[in-house]
């Protein structure tokens, strides 16, 4: 069912490719980027913790905990971010009916240098811990690795958490908070949010059936404000890989969700997919555009590792658990530059990791 690339010229005439393909059995070619999980690791719980601005968005009612104070009563924003992340992890553990001792491994990551938020949370929780960095695609990176470890039987219960914070991200990547600068209309707003999912061998919840590790893709964007444009090609690359490896098509998913391409980035994603022969319909959405309301003045939408985490662990998990969404493709995207590399003139490389989730909801439940 591999569709050839039609052409790469200026006029993007497209062919509608929404065919209803039957889901193929779990076949494994040699050398795929995709992992096929035969032992069905399940997401048994998810916890979402969001800040004030996020709670005023269209998904506000779905968030488990909303904290108005960005410092969470602490002395600095960094310490507050640690609280956001630790609340999401303890909450997810409690929601799964477990205690801290039951968690074999913590996979966590965030946007800060040296992954301080995650490391300091792991210090307090005293769990076996692997720190992950892939910027805003940390959610799917953690889910992919967590699911693979549980599937292989090395660990029984894994917590996958990530977070971001507007104030700490601004300080590290951009300007002081009170500095009067204008942002271009395609800029995005870093979400103050944290999310944690517990993956276990047994339990009730949607199954992670596949995970695709992405490749780094760089189409030469150097504008730090235009993250969506920088990351869209990585999402395209991963989506094409997912379809090639699993033989699914866009029409097989009830929801295709990218992490934080934002309004501009998701339009670019649609255009790029259209150029390659795929017309994405109403089943394609982006967490960045879903997080904030248009009236909140967040330009092109939300971004940050916590953006996709909080949307997935609240709204998407809710829909998977109630059977309203049966098959979801989740592709978080991350921009892998640093301020130093940007000032030195390097362009922005990006990556996108994908996971496929299937609902286990049965009518009689």
């Amino acid at each position: 069912m591999r569709t050839k690339v039609l052409h790469e010229s200026e006029d993007c005439s497209f062919v509608s490719q929404i065919k209803k393909t039957k889901p193929m059995p779990v076949i494994k070619k040699e050398h795929t980027q995709t992992m096929f999980f035969n032992n069905k690791p399940k997401v048994v719980s998810g916890m979402s913790v969001a800040g004030k601005k996020e709670s005023l968005g269209i998904l506000g009612d779905y968030f488990d905990v909303v904290q108005d104070d960005p410092k969470w009563g602490e002395k600095s924003f960094e310490k507050g971010e640690v609280k956001f992340l630790s609340t999401s992890i303890s909450g997810a553990i409690a929601k799964a009916g477990l205690v801290e001792k039951d968690i074999d491994l913590l996979l966590a990551g965030d946007l800060l240098n040296q992954l301080v938020s995650s490391s300091y949370v792991a210090r307090d929780l005293k769990m076996a811990y692997l720190g992950l960095y892939s910027a805003c695609s940390t959610l799917t990176e953690s889910l992919a690795i967590g699911a693979s470890l549980v599937n292989a039987g090395y660990y029984n219960t894994v917590a996958c958490a990530t977070c971001s914070h507007f104030a700490t991200a601004e300080r590290q990547y951009r300007y002081p908070l009170e500095y009067g600068c204008q942002r271009p209309p395609y800029a995005q707003w870093t979400a103050t949010a944290a999310g944690c999912s517990i993956i276990a061998k047994d339990g009730r919840g949607p199954t992670i059936t596949h995970a695709t590790v992405g490749k780094v893709v760089d189409f030469g964007i150097s504008d730090l404000n235009n993250m969506g444009a920088a990351m869209a090609p990585a999402a395209v690359d991963t989506f094409l890989t997912v379809m090639e490896d699993t033989e699914y098509g866009p029409g097989d998913f009830d929801l295709i969700l990218t992490g934080d391409l934002g309004k501009v980035g998701s339009d670019i994603f649609r255009d790029l997919m259209r150029e390659r022969g795929y017309e994405l319909g109403q089943n394609y959405h982006d967490c960045g555009t879903m997080l904030y309301d248009v009236e909140q003045g967040c330009y092109s939408g939300g971004s940050g590792a916590g953006c996709s985490a909080v949307v997935f662990n609240s709204f998407v998990l809710n829909r998977l658990n109630s059977g309203k969404l049966k098959k979801v493709l989740l592709m978080a995207t991350g921009a892998l530059m640093s301020p130093t590399s940007s000032y030195q003139g390097d362009t922005i490389p990006a990556i996108s990791h994908a996971v496929i989730l299937e609902s286990n909801y049965k009518e009689e439940n």
Binding site: F77, E178, G180, C181, Q182, P184, D218, G220, P233
Partner: protein, 156 residues
């Protein structure tokens, strides 16, 4: 893909991104910048005139200095209350060009880095935004001074 093919693809992609990225509404932004920048200057002039009225014997240079000090202090206080960035979001260059913008830049950095302590935080990081302003101000005024001296020597 070859290096050339990659370069061509990136160029084409950049051109495409330029066409689909929304642009700032030029006229509206220009008018707002003009309004806010101009208003800042009008307020400054008002302060200068009030000072001249209150202290008729004061020298012009002293009045100018005092006006700058009052403007800078007001900008710092407004930054402290968190209002300056709200104004600047509309004002753009009208907010960061006048001396009030310089004050805001230094004040915002001082506030931000207070958490790392007074020495390693505030004192070190206070100049992160205004560094280029200070360096270029001193550098180019020195160059101008040297040029003026050279021209004076040559023609006299």
């Amino acid at each position: 893909m070859s290096e050339e093919a990659i370069k061509k693809r990136n160029e084409r992609y950049n051109k495409y991104v330029n066409t689909v990225s929304p642009k700032t509404a030029a006229t509206k932004s220009l008018l707002k910048a003009f309004a806010i920048g101009g208003l800042t200057c009008v307020i400054g002039q008002f302060i200068a005139d009030m000072l001249a009225l209150a202290f008729p014997q004061m020298e012009v240079q002293m009045i100018a200095n005092l006006t700058s000090m009052i403007l800078v202090t007001t900008a710092i206080i407004i930054t402290g209350f968190g209002w300056y960035d709200v104004i600047a979001r509309q004002g753009g260059a009208g907010s960061f060009l006048p001396i009030t913008g310089f004050a805001n830049a230094m004040a915002s950095a001082s506030i931000e880095y207070k958490t790392e302590g007074l020495i390693l935080g505030t004192s070190v990081k206070m100049f992160t935004v205004v560094g280029p302003v200070i360096v270029n101000g001193i550098l180019w005024s020195t160059v101008a001074g040297i040029l003026r001296y050279v021209i004076w020597v040559i023609f006299l």
